[in-house]
Symmetry: D2
């Protein structure tokens, strides 16, 4: 008896019959569709779908699924993947000195909000080791300098591979990852930037926001690409400020945004609710 | 050549194969699904779906659709209806003295935001006749007293029937419709209440909110049932207030909420995006 | 008997005793303070205040006020002005083809939400003349080409002077005003830009937002300076969007933001609630 | 040399000269006003003010302040108190089994966001003892039954007195305090209720919200009075939900609201930014 839920994420050029044929694939094998959400980009004529079905009476097993679905996917020229609810993603969290995003993630993970395991935390500082210990998670300290950066990233990558990490969460990690590093995790690194991108990319966005005199500040969680603060946006939100707020008030208020937005992005990712298409995301929420 | 879009709204007890068989119904007749959104209420085991497809190469005509789909619907014990994009709903707007909701609706309708026609406006006051004239819409004046209410409602109903009205919009209409009237338009009367229901139902909600000292006020658009302010909620939104705001400030700020929320509810309704289930709505936005 | 309210807006370098001495100025002449809001920018050591008092038993008249307050203001090295509630600002609205912002302003003005008169509307198109006529406001048509721009702006300025215009509202006016024009109304031209500035300044911000894949769009009302979209921000707000929204959906949703934000900015300005300091505004709301 | 800031909160019947005379009191003793915010309830003709000034060159000491200000306060028939920035409030947190509100408060307190000390935590369960220990705060376990409630409350009150507790924070404490208990801390007990009051007071508000089919849920922080969920509201906020959300989703989403709203209320209280007037609060933010 199988209590798993299968989740298919698929995108392909639009054509007639896609929903019918994919849902028929599930139906004829005895799967009950729990959730189906589709989207057609009519300007690009591109099709996106997320289907979740229970595996209880499904006639083929998880291991046979890939082979069974491949012919259909090939015919549709689709990018696709199938995940199973019982198999949690393995996430590594990268941090520096700020604890708010890390604490938020660890607390929610323990509550069971995410479908993830966190086998390790990596940092270029030692400050957050006690917090990691409180949650019983191994903490690796890799101080980074311009000189040793390449070498340290290699060690980090080895550690990540060894731990079969699926997704990296940059929880206010204050180092820019190299292009080589990013290449190893395409669409697999989630960052939180403390502004409403594309406004105030780069350094010290709260100072930039203060100097410009905006009435609202924001935070943006996005996938990391080689271009800084330019990857596909997963989630954004904002908070109102006034002339009374100093830069420190912006930092204080922004903390609440950062941790909630990063958590929401990780939630979508861990529930297999995100499809990436070019510079954009489709979020099946 | 047919440029229409067909929109099916359907709800029924959940069972295996619903999406597959409904989408197959569309597919085998040559329809391209433009939008599909489904929902399963897992606690009640009930299924809800909205499917939109283009009729361009569809093998049966609009008039044959009812008959063709009926067998499937019967088998599923479904409540359902199919609408076509080219056939606008016919809406009557009821008003009293406040113009903001009426103006919002007429302005948006002229911009083409709604798929509706507005053949007439009904009021128990004469105040908004000039606004109706500016938009070239017939305005009917039915003053209501406790004595003549039954009689006036009969005349109104006759007028509505004569004009084949599908939906009634109460745009701050300050009369309570009788149960008999409501019975004539089940799930067909949309009201705006100027509070965040269920808080402050009944009279003078802004005064109630002021007296209670809340920090947020709201507005609620809902279908009208025989119980006052108790029908299925379509849309709600809120705005922050402070101790500085007088009752008049609440009225001023609330106006902006009321007209936006009512317009949003009418938008959902006119796009056939609302399914009603018991006391609740499913909004396929 | 005088039912006016006097409103002082003042900014100066911070020093001890400012509130005491200014409020004493009001007190010793018999004024009852209805509202006092002050702000100190502690990093710049600069003081800002808005004080409103009733003139009922005030011992000096409006015309004597300037002379009476000047010694204090000089001592404080203050920038200041005093307005009186009975004397409405005179506003000219500039429009092109979109009606939503104009309609919003005219409707609210008639409701009495603003303390302004609108003696005239100026446009480079004829489209909105009927709307102006509905509200009984003179509409001046000045088509602008690169060749005649200088000449047309001169005519417009002459008309504005002749009508003693205090403030210009650019209600989606699709022409960039010249530096010479802007110089004539320092801090007296209010614009609405259809993005969350500083993101997406310049042309076609909804298209830019769509291409970037943001999850939130915004609108910004600001004073016009010679640098495009760079003046002091008065008000901003946002609305959520999803992958389902096309550019046209962004335009539709954004319309609601634009008109509300512009109206809110004009409300603050007309109530003398805005102080400008460098690139920023202090909003006494 | 004194780096303290004095904060006066005062309310009294409105009359001419209040701001002038109070600010003069500060000025003539050498105080520099850092922040002044006043409010007049024009319908009740009642005056409220918060003034903060630095004590650096102030001519009288903290201990002399009470006596010095009393004559003015008597003349004005004012309710008032003066606090000093260096003297933190002493808060006791009451919890049951949910950790989110407690964790939020302890984390923010350690960051220095509040001007409070937390000498003790009281609970009717043992579940959150480890969290208290992580932050090094004594945890007192008082299980409550209908039989022992009076007795346990007496012990709790003795403990609170002994620790000179100024304010009690009910961080999802699942017991109703008796009227006698509440009487001991008038306007000194802050609760978080997990609904948008006055909607869904009492038990299981998320279930109530789910059953009513609302589109928005809220949370409310308020002072505790003898009537359940009826005390003066300090802060409220909301979050959107949809038909997809189960009761458990409401609980999950609501958690984020509850902890943020409670923290914001405690922030206002700890910064002496709250005045209570009848059933309402004035928040000087």
């Amino acid at each position: 008896m199988n209590n798993q839920v299968a989740i298919l994420l698929l995108s392909c050029p639009d054509r007639i019959g896609l929903v019918s044929r994919i849902s028929h694939f599930v139906f004829e094998r005895g799967g009950n569709i729990l959730d189906l959400d589709e989207h057609v980009d009519t300007s690009e004529k591109y099709f996106f779908v997320r289907i979740a079905w229970d595996m209880k009476n499904f006639s083929i097993s998880e291991s046979e699924m890939m082979e069974a679905f491949t012919p259909l996917a090939k015919e549709f020229k689709a990018k696709w993947r199938i995940n199973f609810s019982g198999k949690n993603l393995r996430a590594a969290v990268f941090v520096s000195k700020f604890d708010h995003c890390l604490q938020e993630i660890l607390w929610r993970q323990r509550l069971g909000e995410f479908n993830i395991e966190i086998p390790l935390i990596i940092s270029n500082h030692n400050d957050l080791k006690p917090l990691a210990e409180h949650y019983g998670i191994p903490y690796y300290f890799y101080p980074v300098t311009p000189e040793n950066k390449t070498e340290q990233e290699k060690k980090e990558l080895a550690l990540l591979k060894e731990n079969q990490i699926d997704v990296i969460v940059l929880a206010r990690y204050m180092q820019i990852l190299s292009g080589q590093f990013v290449d190893e995790y395409p669409n697999g690194i989630i960052n939180i930037h403390h502004s409403f991108l594309p406004a105030f990319s780069g350094n010290d966005p709260y100072r930039q926001a203060y100097d410009r005199g905006v009435k609202i500040i924001g935070a943006t969680s996005h996938y990391v690409t080689k271009e800084l603060d330019d990857g596909p946006i997963i989630e954004q939100d904002i908070i109102r400020i006034t002339h009374k707020d100093t830069v420190n008030d912006l930092i204080r208020k922004g903390r609440d945004l950062e941790r909630l937005i990063l958590a929401r992005a990780l939630y979508y990712h861990s529930q297999h609710r995100v499809l990436i298409h070019g510079r954009k995301t489709i979020i099946f929420d």
